[in-house]
Symmetry: D2
Subunit: 342 residues, 4 copies
């Protein structure tokens, strides 16, 4: 576990503590080397007395499975020094994008390439799922938190050919752990509580190309998305409101069924019964995505709202789910199936 | 002041306590008649010992100015029994809509008609503002909170002919005081804190026709809006993310200027300097609207984000602002010009 | 599981979903009979389609283990109709107090008697623990949430003879789930967020006699407590600040060691390393209590601060822990050992 | 206004914007020199375009009144270079303590002396108030936020001779703005929301000697206090639960009357009607203190709970109130008399 002192690293460790087949090995970080894990993550009681080692190929060697939760731009060099046979699951952005050009437009480090994309439930055309690419993989790129919510929300409509590819608007609210532990004034508790604000408005958020990559794959054509993220006064959770125009002639009474069918067999993605709407509080700490679909037939638009915990299914839960697939374990093993509410 | 025990009523009283020309007269309500105001609104210290009277034409008579903050459907009968010469400012929905059909579609009580609409800053075509209809009026309908944020966010673009009327998508987050004091399980603190959820998805929210009425007036043609409201874990504030497609051929470098020009002379509506984004925390308790405008030129869309306090500029502040206009006072008199932050 | 629709009932179900040896049987309640559990507790995804039955002896019969989470005054009649051989774990107050007089002073229903008190870690004099009374018991009274935090915080000092019995002052803050789902205006999200307030000041809180019973047992003499509970703007968690006067002549350098020794072997009660202080956020959703002890030697007082999740270790976690003991299982089985943070 | 970029400085500016007799002059700071005030305090709309100057004797000269809101240890040097005739109101700790020894024990900079202490309502023995020392003063030390709440809560009981001086226990919860804008991990929003934690336990908090100084003055003898501050998940507000032992023989039926009498004529300190309890939400943004008094006659203790906004009456409101007194203005001029609730 490299990058253990951040929120993603802490969440991976939390999940592994309940995992029946994976044991926590060496725990590494950079600026907190030598500290007790209990002083960084006091909630991880059974690991409190572990001492944080330095993130190097040497400290990570000898493990069958390595999770990376590093700032973007740091995974490639490290992964390159780990044996091919080791399963490496990267929570960073480095290997998510297939397009070097998209990477270069949105990120400030050299393009590192792409790894199998760790969103098992994503419809990828012709009835297949992304899951098929993950079984037995030894390198996996865990999706971003917003792309998890938005892609799972809209992909069934694109896969079913119901949605226009050029009129997608998404506004999503995230809890502040999504911004990590960086010490910035606008992330102070006094600033955050009681206040909502947008950021990255106008298409500039780095998760935009990742969302478009996923939806384009589901649609079989290029999908473009207007994406506005906002910061909400809560520690965890993403609520993504995703709307797209229905293709002319769509039978609006059959729209919702496309989503129900897409996720009927999925353990972690749930279309709620009609009349119920997702709330981020219901998925806190769990690996679930909750969805609801509505059609605004006056305007010919579908509105899909998805709730997900940005740290669990949005990051660490997906990482463990992918590790299960890579290791040939039951995909759901060790993952929390109930949220912590209220 | 009729309807004093709710949040809107309490906020009107808070503002009037600081108003140099308006004195609080009789304070009335229905279920709390006979109680000390201090037991309902402990924050209104100077009025703590006022006893709440019953809302009747008699208790309200003899005042030059009457504010109504009643459940919808109750204003018409009461207002009809108040003299024409009394200035009546209604915070309810009853007289906001000009279309009887729109009212009937979205509300469950008979259509009561329409009064001059209390949004002074709204561009209403040909360079005029809604303010012109309010000076000296004796009946005024205060706008809804969401329509305040959304209409002021998008109207300049429609008034300047920059935006397509049929591709408007709005997602707005509101603090829970927007839902009033009704005792519903999903409004309990334990449910609300740490959670976001949508409601009225698919076009059903009652504020939709009011938003469309305002934007259509600014545009000079029919505007339709996909509107999704969400509930955010904060007591006050609305953050509205409003997006519309630019007309083909629009010079994107000139878009923002339309908003700057529209509100350059306004006391309460502010386009922030480029690079700054509004936060609801900055307008808490104040009568300001803060806006920012961005163009996503890849998609040809404009994104306008507005922050407003739903109880102040979104309700009670607008009511006092309109009362000032009706009484011939300085429009800004007694209104808070600084938010309470952090 | 009787009383499934409240917060305590929901938390018990959450824990049982992860329990390897206990399976959820019939789920009952009163006002929500016939509803899907998913509409009441959307976070309990695997149980979403369970239909709530009515709480009667018949619906509960045939189970080896029954949890009661009922309003106080309802447990006795129901438990009396369940076979003696069934293990009944009651989360209500009905059977916690050994003194009929204390019950009558603080509660408004007839005294029902007392059951073995479900706080395994409580020192009960002469080196014994309350745990000894729980193995194989078929009736167990789960402690209240405040008494859990306060008793575990102060009992080691009384058991070691370090503290004066007549100068104990406790101020505790609780998240609002502690007040349950009752629809009261002061529990609305808009009222709760951004605000703290006390209640039950002056000794009137019902948890006072329970705290005194526990501390008196540890001390071997009568202990009296000044207890003030406050409501904090968070969904879960109790932070109890507990202070008592040291007996004259106490060696202040040895005080902390009494707590370290008392809980050194306990799985769920932890004295943090010196310099670290407990935070409720670190125990959210877990069965842990985190403590720290300080001596104010200027004043000759000890200050112990305890953090606990009121719904987990404070209620449902203790219930499952006691059920484990009653059934002869490992006491820690199925209980969460990591908090959900941040 | 020196130190304008912090929370105290921002709050002073907010209050001055509504003050009819004081105009905001030069606005200075250190690390933010040259920035627009709007980028630091976006809620202060009318001052948004002010540019922050450097804090030097030169930039501050030429003003009749200077507020200092600097880190402790910085006020003495600056104040020494301002003319004696200028009214200097210091929000820092530097001049609050009369005892050089107490200063040295709790602070890490040289003792600077003491100025008239800016708590007008404090009973100071023999029927007098601290207010008498402030009229016409040219140097005033504004109290700390906790000492404001605690001293006003307990002083009437000491002034009336009702309370034992050696058994005072105070536990107070503060919103996180009390910790200022310092970028520390435990102050991040994700850490703070949903969590409460103590700090400075065991008598080490710097506000302890200030509280003891005030209560000793009221009592006419040395009072010692066990003080534990805690951090609560809210931006503003202090709730102080203050308890002391009644002197033997005290008539408990007359205790509350001592508080009612002490503050009957005060504009900003209010003993609530019996049965009502203070909430910090009711004083947000206002200059009020709300109190309630209860006697736990079983234990012979009085419990006084006080709610105050740490930034308003706890800092900036007191500063303006003192400036009013110093300048010979009405003490209440320009100060908010209603809280912003909900």
């Amino acid at each position: 576990m490299a990058g253990a002192s951040g929120y993603a690293g802490g969440e991976i460790l939390r999940l592994l503590l309940a995992h029946p087949q994976i044991e926590v090995g060496t725990v590494t970080a950079s600026s907190t080397v030598g500290e007790r894990l209990g002083s960084i993550h006091p909630h991880l009681v059974p690991l409190a007395d572990r001492v944080i080692a330095e993130t190097t190929p040497e400290t990570l060697s000898g493990h069958e499975l390595v999770f990376l939760a590093l700032p973007h731009g740091h995974s490639a060099a490290l992964a390159g020094q780990l044996p091919e046979s080791v399963v490496v699951v990267d929570c960073g952005a480095d290997f998510r994008l297939e397009s070097a050009q998209a990477w270069t437009t949105f990120y400030d480090t050299p393009y590192a390439g792409s790894w199998p994309y760790g969103m098992p439930e994503l419809p990828t055309g012709a009835g297949s799922r992304q899951r098929d690419r993950l079984a037995g993989a030894t390198r996996i790129a865990v999706p971003g938190c917003y792309p998890t919510a938005v892609s799972l929300a809209l992909a069934p409509g694109f896969a079913a050919g119901l949605l226009e590819p050029d009129d997608v608007v998404v506004v999503a609210a995230s809890g502040t752990s999504g911004a990590g532990k960086s010490l910035k004034p606008h992330l102070l508790g006094a600033e955050v509580m009681g206040s909502m604000s947008p950021y990255g408005v106008g298409g500039g958020h780095r998760h935009t190309p990742e969302i478009e990559q996923n939806l384009s794959r589901a649609a079989g054509e290029t999908v473009q998305v207007s994406f506005t993220p906002t910061l909400a006064p809560m520690p965890r959770g993403i609520l993504a409101t995703c709307t797209a125009r229905l293709r002319p002639g769509t039978d609006v009474t059959r729209v919702r069924a496309a989503w129900v069918a897409a996720y009927g067999d999925e353990a972690f993605v749930h279309v709620l019964p009609e009349g119920s709407w997702p709330a981020t509080g219901a998925v806190t700490g769990s690996n679930h995505v909750q969805l609801q679909v509505a059609v605004d037939d006056r305007l010919g638009r579908v509105v899909v709202v998805a709730a997900v915990d940005n740290l669990t299914k949005g990051t660490a839960g997906a990482a463990v789910q992918c590790a299960n697939l890579a290791l040939g374990l039951d995909e759901t093993l060790g993952l929390p199936v109930a949220g912590v509410a209220p």
